[in-house]
Amino acid sequence: MSELTELSAAEAVGRIRAGEISARELFDAYRERAAADELNAYTWVADGAPDEMPDAETPLAGVPVAVKDLFCTEGIPSQAGSRILEGYRPPYTATVVARLQDAGATLLGKTNQDEFAMGSSNENSAFGPVLNPWDRTRVPGGSSGGSAAAVAGGSAPWAIGTDTGGSIRQPAALCGIVGLKPTYGACSRYGMIAFASSLDQAGPFTRDVADAALLFAHMAGRDSRDSTSTGLPGPIEPPRAEDLRGIRLGVPADLLGDEDGVGIDAGVRESFEATLRIAEGLGASIETCALPHAPHALSAYYLIAPAEASANLARYDGVRYGLRVAGDESLEAMYSRTRGEGFGAEVKRRVMLGTYALASGYYDAYYGTALKVRTKIAEDFRAAFAEVDFIVTPTSPTTAFELGAKTADPLAMYLNDYCTVPMSLAGIPAISIPSGLGDGLPIGFQLAGAAFSETRLLDAAHALERAIGFDGSAVRNRTVAQNG
């Protein structure tokens, strides 16, 4: 059984098609691992393989996928990590999940996450924190911590999550796997329980870039139910590049300097520099590029995202679904009590921040100003991409921190997103690949490209990944007994 789960998803598809392995057996092997998961990565696991497995000739051939809990899955709990949606079973399925199922994917389980996708450590879930498979005293990152831990811990061949300010890329980095945030609009947001509508994007978590390209290709596409979805201008080709000849990589001094006291760990910086040398060895040229407004991206993000969240979370009021805190009092009291009891501390903080930023008298100074900063950030990236092909940074300033290490100070937690938030604001694609270890913990290398450059981005990431040769299989292949 264990050899089945050692195959990458693409390898598994090939073997299923060749009749060498059974998709049902593969599903069962993963299901057993998911059901025995000790990382708290799942909030729901399938009872068994579907009665009818997808045809082997479908693109994904029945290979199972783990799905972040905020994707609505008809009849199956979809709780977004929140008490206010505890037990909620939606009457419909998110477009991205439906597309994957149409392509032959099977639903393995729903993964744990920070509540309403707000967090960078998966410590904000109403269903308990997720543990990092590399070191169980540490966080897997967030908000898609469950999806990342499932893939890194070998209980799912691949998974999907969402990225609003870094919630795919940062957990991918902390867990030593690949995570892609696509161009805004590439994937439909229909059925994705919303946090911030101008930032949220679905994306893949995988063991390698080839799997990321395969999964992403079947997630993306224009959807008439999401008017912000554009799909992709062309198909995603399987990545083939073996070198980076002619590729110009831009290093943004504005983001990597220490003036803002962000404090990129020495070990992270070392791995980043070493990866740049590897890239040069593959023929890339390394240049500095200017992103003058990028240091303000975090501030703009922590105005825009909470503002949008305060509007998106207004629907959780105890009326139509979810928790209702009953009492003899008025409608308004029901709203306030329900939300007071149903939302966790981080969600309340962001709803308050967002409500304040949008309140009359403060709108122009805060939210209005943040939207202008956003314009400048997007302009900075466009100008930079006229000079370089991809912009590169460490994904996260630190490796996985200990559970509880950053929960006392919200601002300290927000700083985890420093290198990922600018790309989210600009709506451009970015991928994190593992670049090495620091004190035994994974470090991520981020590459960002111009809007709709995913095929080229995946190709470059693939070439770099081959040369880096990061191997997460020891952590992935630990049996449950060994994990005890």
């Binding site: 009457p91 139509r320 409608l331 903080r349």
Partner: protein, 103 residues
């Protein structure tokens, strides 16, 4: 920086009932975040257009796609589906407590 009265006001706007201990902590936490965020107000953003969403960004090279679908009815949820998760279905509708007297 944030007065308690402001926090109470914002909590009311957000329909969030906060306990006394939460109110105290919230004022400090929000102030600390706002202090950091405040710095963007020092930037010179004269003449800069706001970007609400990458889908419709000023000056972007993303061609605005006509995102509209044909104005034709398509099936939606049935009443049963819509009420399936309702805390208090009443006569085929969502039951709620009375709004109470206007304040």
């Amino acid at each position: 920086m944030l007065e308690r009265a402001q926090v109470v006001h914002v909590a009311r706007l957000a329909r969030l009932e906060l306990q006394e201990s939460e109110l105290e902590r919230m004022a400090g936490e929000l102030s600390s975040v706002l202090d950091h965020i405040e710095r963007i107000r020092e930037l010179d953003l004269t003449g800069v257009e706001p970007t609400g969403s990458p889908a419709a960004a000023p000056g972007s090279d993303r061609a605005p796609v006509a995102m509209m679908r044909p104005d034709e009815p398509i099936p939606g949820l049935t009443r049963e589906q819509a009420l399936a998760a309702a805390p208090e279905p009443v006569d085929g509708a969502f039951g709620v407590p009375s709004p109470g007297p206007a304040e």
